[in-house]
């Protein structure tokens, strides 16, 4: 099985120096992607240090896109640029554009954009002073009780939303008897699914997941991976992972980042079976990283 390379649409700075001095060609997944998000010529810095060197990147609608690469390659920065979290870090700066359905999220209100592009973090971060169900509805509560049509959301309705999203995250059956316990009282895997439920409650279109399983045990990891398969029917998912097996298992597309460059972006089956670049192959086969 061999699907050939996707030619890039804007081959501007195609020729790049790989760290080993090998000339590589930048690859971006192709025109056939129905793009939910589009990253254009994205450059990012921490203080003086440039972490992303400027590349294009499309995220396919209702698919799972994995971003892999060794530590420090810029994968977390990339995902944090995609919902405007990067700019919150002191000393952080970026250039280029990130588009959601064709609108530049950096030209819109950051608060609105973040509610349309949800995020799940590396370490589960439930709000420990809130109960499980309050955690789940914490995002929706930000909008107050008013709905867009002017009607009020009642307490029952909020609880209903809480139950619904906990159900979607596969957590309801496990926690329904102690939804009033603190969110921090759950196990690590449950906490992470609670964080996913919390993100789903604000009805985002895209879900960004920054190494969501790195703090979890294998059983919890498996549950989250199953959940991701379930969720991609309704959501577009981008997942950063340092675990290549995970990327291979869950994702439809995979991007390989190395030292701030997008080295290769392919269908997952391609990148793991027949990568275009030697660097990619060496990383995937575990020879560095």
């Amino acid at each position: 099985m061999s699907i050939k390379v996707y030619t890039q649409e804007e081959n501007v700075n195609a020729e790049l120096h790989s760290p080993e001095g090998v000339m590589v060609t930048e690859v971006s997944a192709g025109d056939d992607i129905e793009a939910k998000m589009h990253v254009k010529n994205l450059k990012a810095w921490f203080r003086q240090k440039q972490v992303l060197n400027g590349f294009d990147f499309k995220v396919a609608t209702n698919k799972i896109t994995a971003i892999i690469g060794p530590s420090g390659c810029g994968k977390s920065t990339l995902i944090r640029c995609m919902n405007r979290m990067h700019e919150l870090t002191p000393g952080a700066r970026m250039e280029g554009g990130v588009f959601l359905d064709g609108i530049d999220i950096y030209k819109e209100d950051s608060v609105e954009m973040r509610s349309r592009i949800g995020m799940v973090f590396q370490t589960p971060n439930p709000f420990p002073t809130m109960s499980v169900v309050d955690n789940a509805i914490s995002g929706i509560k930000l909008r107050g009780r008013g709905k867009s049509d002017g009607k009020k959301i009642g307490k029952d309705e909020l609880m209903g939303i809480g139950e619904e999203v906990l159900n979607m995250a596969g957590l309801w059956d496990e926690v329904k008897d102690d939804i009033n316990k603190s969110g921090a009282a759950l196990s690590g895997g449950q906490q992470q699914r609670l964080c996913i439920a919390r993100a789903l409650a604000v009805e985002p279109e895209v879900l960004l997941m920054d190494e969501p399983c790195s703090a979890l045990d294998p059983a919890s990891t498996l549950k989250i991976e199953e959940l991701m398969q379930e969720l991609k029917k309704d959501y577009t998912i981008v997942v950063v992972t340092h675990n290549m097996q995970q990327a291979a298992r869950v994702s439809d597309y995979t991007a390989f980042l190395y030292m701030g460059e997008l080295i290769e972006y392919q269908k997952t089956s391609v990148i793991f079976e027949n990568p275009e670049k030697e660097l990619t192959e060496r990383y995937i086969t575990g020879r560095f990283g």
Binding site: D109, V111, E112, G144, G146
Partner: protein, 269 residues
């Protein structure tokens, strides 16, 4: 609430935190400004060089004598207690550390009463009683500063010393030597605080218009001169009282700012 209201609320509340900050530091500058403008009126060599009622020379000297005796009492006890707490950890050491924290909140007036009962009522040594009262206030701070300073000495230093066969006291002496700057900082900040204490001195060292005559007599101090001179409607005394306040605040702020700039250390409460 729609997004525009939420954004507006965000802006308003964030601006209010700046307002809160400004409201809080207005008194700082207002007080300092008042003390400078009123204190400069009568500040001259006579004020610094004469005895009351013309000046407050004995109060400047007295402040430092009381402080020196306070050090003699509080430093050995405080530093050695701190050494025990930091070097021989256990439930007793932890309890002592907590007790010292709690004791640092003892109102200064209480220290005055205690020193009155223990020293003045039995020996009538007013000056010494003043120092004992201030020691009660200073001791917990010295204990905790020493403890924290020693705990921040890297363990590798102790291990290296122990590996060379040095006995425990030797190792601790080396650790103390490393931590001395940090301990000195704590002592200085605490000294600046007790120098301004007036309430404990009401019951103890009190007021004197004579030269220093020994710790068994009344010993004048800057804080007490401020209290004594500003209470009565006598223009010249009031002006002199503000001058004493100016000298006191200069000493205290100089220590605080100096220490903070040199060490970036936080204030201890």
């Amino acid at each position: 609430m729609n997004l525009r209201t939420r954004r507006a609320k965000d802006k308003v509340m964030k601006s209010l935190t700046l307002v809160a900050f400004l409201v809080a530091i207005v008194p700082l500058f207002y007080v300092i400004g008042t003390v400078i403008s009123k204190g400069l009126v009568a500040l001259n060599w006579q004020a610094l060089g004469e005895l009351p009622p013309l000046g407050f020379r004995n109060a400047i000297i007295g402040t430092f004598i009381i402080l020196a005796v306070t050090w003699l009492i509080a430093l050995p006890v405080g530093i050695m207690s701190g050494v025990y707490i930091a070097e021989y950890r256990g439930i007793f050491a932890r309890a002592m550390s907590f007790l010292a924290d709690v004791m640092s909140g003892v109102p200064s007036i209480i220290a005055g009463i205690v020193s009155y009962v223990v020293v003045v009522a039995t020996t009538r040594a007013f000056g010494l009683a003043g120092s004992v009262a201030l020691s009660i206030l200073m001791l917990p701070v010295v204990i905790r500063s020493t403890e924290e300073a020693l705990k921040s000495v890297p363990n590798s230093l102790r291990e290296a010393s122990t590996a060379l066969g040095a006995p425990k006291w030797r190792t601790t002496a080396i650790a103390l030597n490393t931590a001395k700057g940090s301990i000195a900082t704590g002592v200085l900040l605490s000294s600046a605080r007790v120098m301004g204490e007036t309430a404990p001195l009401i019951m103890t060292a009190g007021y004197s218009q004579w030269e220093f005559m020994g710790m068994d007599c009344r010993v004048n101090s800057l804080a007490y001169v401020v209290y004594e001179f500003l209470r009565y409607p006598d223009k010249e005394r009031i002006a002199l009282g503000w001058s004493a306040a100016l000298i006191l605040i200069i000493i205290i702020l100089a220590i605080n700012i100096g220490v903070r700039i040199l060490t970036r250390r936080k204030y201890e409460y």
